[in-house]
Each structure stands twice: as structure tokens, then as C-alpha cells.
Amino acid sequence: MIENLLRESASLQDTEARSQMIHEIAKHASKEIIGELILILQDTQSPLIPVALEVLEIIGYPKNASAIPAILWYIDNGTSPLFEKALQILVAMGPAALPNIVHLAQENEAMDALVINALSKVGYYVFVQLQEEAEFITERVLQALATHPEESLEMLLYVLSNPIKVWWEEAVKIVSAIGYPQNAPAIPLLVAHACLGNDLAEKEAIQSLVALGPKIVVPYLLEALWDEGQTSKYLSIKPEDIVWLLLDSALGPEYLIPCGSMVSDILLRIPPTQPAFRRKFLQVLERIGPQCAIYALPALLNILRQERGSDLGVQIRKLIATFDQEALEPYMQILQDSSEQGISNGV
């Protein structure tokens, strides 16, 4: 029955009459009718697709929520003008639809892939094409997302956790704009993006972390170090990635120093077969300087045993030589013993 009405409205030449009829169909759309509209969309050869999309747009969110998968499919696979129409429907749904989309992605792998692809296309359209042609629309979308954190945050987490790269830079900006503590669930992902390397969002993420400040960020850095890339919370980044972040980014000593004890603990567990990693971790302790002596000396002396005569051994000896006499005194017998074994010359 709905097909006949759609066909009739599609055949109308008078645009006003056509629009009136479509509004009338939308006004009386029941669950069953929406189901029939979705069936039409699923038949990709149907000539009624454009008019079915028009009806769904007028029905509006949340009544048309069940059509989201079909709409995403047209965003992913549709060509102009169906792509634009589907996108228009999605944008009209507003931030309120975002949690729904994320939940759909979590249903199964196929849906996850569809959401990722569709969001990538939306991102390209909004952040690349529209940015060039109609920047104000891009701005409006970003503003809408930032001002509705309770609805947008879940999707931002999804975007930042998945390879929807075209969104990353903007997503980080939005997370930053949402502000703390509302954006707290996204901070692990900011940490991850800050040290992924070659990441479009890297610079933005580091700026966001600097803006948050060490009191908020350091506990996350420690968790990421502790996590050792075992969970997806920090996108499986490794402790060496965090060390790179601590050493080479705009994060100052107020981020580095509180992580020193944990860095020293991890350094001890890096096998001798990975001298480059050992060297990188050692650089953190070097950057901290004599202040690290209290927690680092036992670990350094231990590694020194394995690094007789190596470059790393020399590097460790140089660091120990910078430590205060007071810090070294309890270890004097060990240093003497090591020296007799040719381990700690120069300390």
C-alpha cells in the first residue's frame, strides 16, 4: 500500500502537491510503514528510494531510528544524490542519534564495519568538502557535538578508537572543547593519539593534554605505562610510546618527573636483548637527573651487572656519577664490589 502512495507522490509534477503528499504520508507513518520504507531502501534497484528517503527525513528522529542502518548503507555506498540525501537525514537527526549509532556498531562486525565506513564518508564530506565550500556548516556540526557531550562523547570515543582517520583531528578538538571532567572518559584516547606517531591528531592531542595539566594527566600516563599495551583502553600503545611522549613532546618535566619511579621499574624488566628500549627509558631518568637516585639506583646497579663495558653501561655510570654523595653512600659497598669486578669504573 505504501508503495502505491510513494509511486503516486513521485509522479506528481507539482512540487508543492508532491511535498504535501509526502508530509501526509510521514504524518501518518506507523511502525509498519517505517518498516515498509526500510524494505524499499533495501531493494537497491527500487525507483522509489529517493521518495522513501524524503519521507524518512520528514518523519524525523527518534521515530525513524530503525532506518539508521539503511541510511548508513546509503552514506557508505550511495552515489549522488542518494548519498547527500542520506547524509542530510543523518545530520538532521542531530547529536541525539549518535549513541544509537555506536550501539549499532557494537552489535556485530558487519555493522561495525558499516558504521566505520559511513562515518569516514561523513567525515570526508563534512571536514574536507564542506570545509572548502561551506565552512559554516562544518563549524555548526562541530559546535553541536561539543555542546552535547552526553550524546556525542560515546561516538567520539568510538571514532578515536577506530580507523576513522578523517575524524580524528576534529574529534580531539571536540573532546578538548567539551572540557574536563565531562571529557574524562576520552583522556586515555587523547594519551594514545598523542603518541601514535604520524597521527593527524597527535599535535591536537598533545595540546589537549597540556591544557588539562599534569594533575589530571599524570594518573593516565601511569596507567598507560602500567597497562603495557595489554588492553584496548589506550589503543594498545606500549610503554616505549609513552616514554617517547614524555621525552619528545611539549609535555614538560611536571609530567615526566612523577612517572620516573614507574619508568625505572619498567626499565628493569626490559631484557638485555632490547638495548634501544633500555636506552630510551634511561633517557627519562637522565632527564630527571639526581632526583631519580632514590628509586633508580637499585635498578641501575642491577642493569649495570648485565651491561659490563657496553655503551649503555657507560651511560648508566655517567648518570650514577651525577647523583649526590648522600644518595650513593648506602650503596658504597656495592659500588666498591662492582668496581672490583670492573663494572663501575668512573662511579
Binding site: P219, W226, D265, L268, L297, P298, A299, P330, Y331, D337
Partner: protein, 226 residues
């Protein structure tokens, strides 16, 4: 000979007088006292330790390695006297030897028992000793290659860290969270957790996200939440 006699003397005043007199001549007495303490019979050990103590530091400095060896077993005669002697020598003299013993696992006989005894000593003596040994002790607790708990009871090490209290937080925290994660609800795990909970708010906040899953795991009876 004199140590044999002294060890069987029951007159306390007379014994103290003789010990004091022997201590007046360290050059002649110290070597003999060290020989008595370093060999059988055990009956002479206590009085030998008393003489070494009475000699005092720095005159008794040569006995330091021997005294360190003698703290391996708290049940040995004279153990308390040896501990007091080491305490009187002061942390700046004794701690380097303690840390050396932490290091010399392959060179100290019954190393695990020796470490337990050193920890017992550190729990008894002036807190400065524990403070200076704390970082090396925490490092030891964190090592993966330690003897099993039945041979080296971790609670001895934790007792010393407890004595240090919040002052050990900065260096011990990573080791303790790792230890709690491995030990779960065991008595040592709970002891480590209590210690962590006694730390200052600032450091607990810094480690809040590392601690949260551990606390959750312990509350759920040690079952992993991941």
C-alpha cells in the same frame, strides 16, 4: 679460654665487670672475640658478641662482616646482642653492608633466611636503618627471580616497608601495585594493600587508575575482572 669461662659465669655483676675489662683492651681482645663468635661452640657466641659490643665503634669495626654473617638466624645465641652492636655502629656504617648482602645472593649462604633475618633486625632497630635500606628492599621485593615465598617470606620485607610508612611511597609504589596484583588476597597481598592505603592522598591520586582495578579484583575475591 676466657670466653668459655665467661659464658658459664652466673654472677651477672662479675660477668659485666669482666666484659668491661676485656673491652678496655680491644687490640688484644677483639680478635679472640671474633674467633669465638665465628666458630663453635655456640655457648660462647653471646658473650663474644657482648665483648665486641662493649669494645664499641670504631674499635670493633673489623668485626662488622662477621657480625653481618651472624644475623642470619635470630635463634642463634647472641643475635640480639649482635643487632644492638650493629645498631650502635650506626646506619652510615652498617647499611652499605646490608645492601651488599641484598646483592650477593650467590655469595651468601642461606641467602633467603639471611634476608629474612636482616629484615627482622631492620624492624627492631632505629628507623633510619629502614629508611636507608628502603629503596633497595623495595627493589628486592619486585624481583621476579626471588626464591619462593616458602623460602623467603615476603612479609618480612613488607614489615620493613611498613616501618618506613608513607616515606617509601615514591619508590615502592610501582613494586607494591605489581605485588598486590600478583598476590591478590593472600596475607602478603593484604599487607601490601594496607601499606599502600596508608600513603598520602597525593600519591594515591597519582596512581588511582592503576590501583582501581586491583582493588576491584581484591573486593571480588581475587577473580580477574578483565
Amino acid at each position: 679460654m676466657v670466653f668459655d669461662e665467661l659464658s658459664f659465669t652466673t654472677n651477672i655483676q662479675e660477668k659485666e665487670r669482666l666484659i668491661h675489662e676485656l673491652a678496655q683492651h680491644p687490640q688484644e681482645t677483639l680478635g679472640e672475640a671474633m674467633r669465638a663468635l665465628g666458630s663453635l661452640p655456640k655457648s660462647r657466641w653471646k658473650v663474644a658478641a657482648q665483648v665486641i659490643r662493649a669494645i664499641g665503634y670504631p674499635h670493633n669495626a673489623a668485626a662488622l662482616p662477621l657480625l653481618m654473617g651472624h644475623i642470619s638466624d635470630p635463634n642463634w645465641p647472641g643475635w640480639g646482642e649482635v643487632v644492638k652492636t650493629l645498631e650502635e655502629m650506626g646506619p652510615e656504617v652498617v647499611v652499605p653492608y646490608i645492601l651488599l648482602d641484598f646483592w650477593q645472593r650467590d655469595r651468601v649462604q642461606y641467602w633467603d633466611q639471611h634476608i629474612e633475618s636482616i629484615c627482622s633486625m631492620l624492624s627492631q632497630v632505629e628507623r633510619t636503618f629502614a629508611l636507608q635500606c628502603g629503596p633497595a628492599l623495595a627493589h628486592l621485593l619486585g624481583r621476579d627471580d626471588l626464591p619462593p615465598d616458602r623460602d623467603l617470606d615476603r612479609s618480612f620485607l613488607l614489615d620493613v616497608l611498613e616501618k618506613i610508612g608513607p616515606d617509601c611511597a615514591e619508590y615502592a609504589m610501582p613494586v607494591l601495585v605489581d605485588f598486590i596484583g600478583k598476590e591478590g588476597n593472600s596475607s602478603s597481598g593484604m599487607q601490601a594493600l594496607r601499606l599502600v592505603q596508608s600513603f598520602d592522598k597525593e600519591i594515591l591520586e597519582r596512581y588511582q587508575y592503576v590501583l582501581a582495578p586491583l582493588l576491584k579484583k581484591m573486593e571480588s575475591g581475587g577473580e580477574t575482572s578483565e
